[in-house]
Amino acid sequence: MPRPALGKVSGQGSARAGISHLDRDRSLVEAARRDPERFDALYRRYLAQVYSYAYYELGDHHDAEDATERTFLAALANLGRFEERARPADGDGASTFRVWLFRIARNVVANQRRERRRRPTAPLEAAAAVADPLDVERDAALRDDAAEAWRAVGRLPADRRRALVLRFVEEMSTAEIAGILGRSEGAVRVLIHRALRAIGRDLVRKAKPSEPGR
């Protein structure tokens, strides 16, 4: 069965599930290879995604900035080593620039965590404030949702948390997450399913005590 849904074609309705086997960054990558100063376009496209991922992983604004900086500098320095492998025949080794970049980010974050000898903290409330200041200030319920989601995700084991962040925050496909985490698509699906089930049960447990008589 042919594999990867690496590049999602976003569009109307069911077109979202369509599969493109071309790396949408190909032209930008080629331009950056010819002229490193053109790397700026790739940087602008992925800055928020990489930073967001690092922030969810490290839970600290300064650490996230540090990891983001290292990721992009490493990507620029190693761009010559990137190989696009986005065809179905590439199977488990499939990779696009975004997958490759996030693999670097994942390694940088792991290295940073090792250096500082600490587990990620759960600066959950703080995140809600940074996330989307305009919306959050307008609606306290949204802030609560964000804080609660942070708390729930923060309690998960690292691999489940990582998979959920990539799925929900970065809106990556299962194939992309599999490429980044170095697992099969099936394993990623199970990881996400279990994480959601754990969070769902947690939510149900918390909701129950306040129900009677209120």
Binding site: P36, Q49, T71, F72, L76, D145, F168, R197
Partner: protein, 169 residues
């Protein structure tokens, strides 16, 4: 041997995955939820809709964005200049990387423990090798100077050398 539990788990995971696809697509249309199959676990659905609302992208500050953009441009310029000067582009970039990455390979799999220290043996090995060569060279010169010369030619050369200061006197 049958693996009914595993099959059921994978089927549920696939169901969840399909639901997430439609949920994320619904988000593009600013819809709160998406239709789901009846077999989908209610807890999974509740968690997914909650996370969909709560897990938002975090943006860096504009100041950071511009600072890093400048740094990358600087690095890119040095990559262009280095080959023109006959050097290696990667060397120029490495020199402006933040404090530590020289010790780890950002492209290695972090779970394999290769990410950290993969470059280190090469670096340490290189340093050790050059230090060893230097030490061996110094030791050889010292040994040569201290060693009594046995060949007639060497003895003649030494005698001629010893004669020189006397003639000057």
């Amino acid at each position: 041997m049958t693996l009914p539990g595993r099959d059921a788990g994978e089927a549920d995971a696939l169901l969840t995955d399909r639901y997430l696809e439609s949920l994320l697509a619904a988000g593009d249309r600013h819809a709160e939820d998406a239709p789901a199959e009846a077999r989908l676990d209610d807890a999974v659905r509740a968690a997914a809709t909650r996370l969909r609302r709560g897990l938002v992208r975090v943006h860096p500050s504009f100041r950071f964005e511009e600072r890093l953009a400048n740094r990358l441009n600087e690095a890119a310029r040095s990559m262009r200049l280095a080959p023109a000067a006959g050097g290696e582009g990667s060397v120029a970039v490495r020199s402006i990387q933040p404090a530590d990455p020289g010790d780890f390979d950002p492209l290695a799999d972090p779970d394999s423990n290769d990410a950290v220290g993969r470059a280190r043996p090469l670096l340490i090995g290189g340093a050790l090798t050059s230090a060893a060569i230097s030490l061996a060279g110094a030791a050889f010169v010292a040994w040569r100077r201290a060693r009594p010369l046995r060949s007639p030619m060497a003895r003649a050369a030494r005698a001629a050398h010893a004669e020189r200061p006397r003639r000057a006197d």
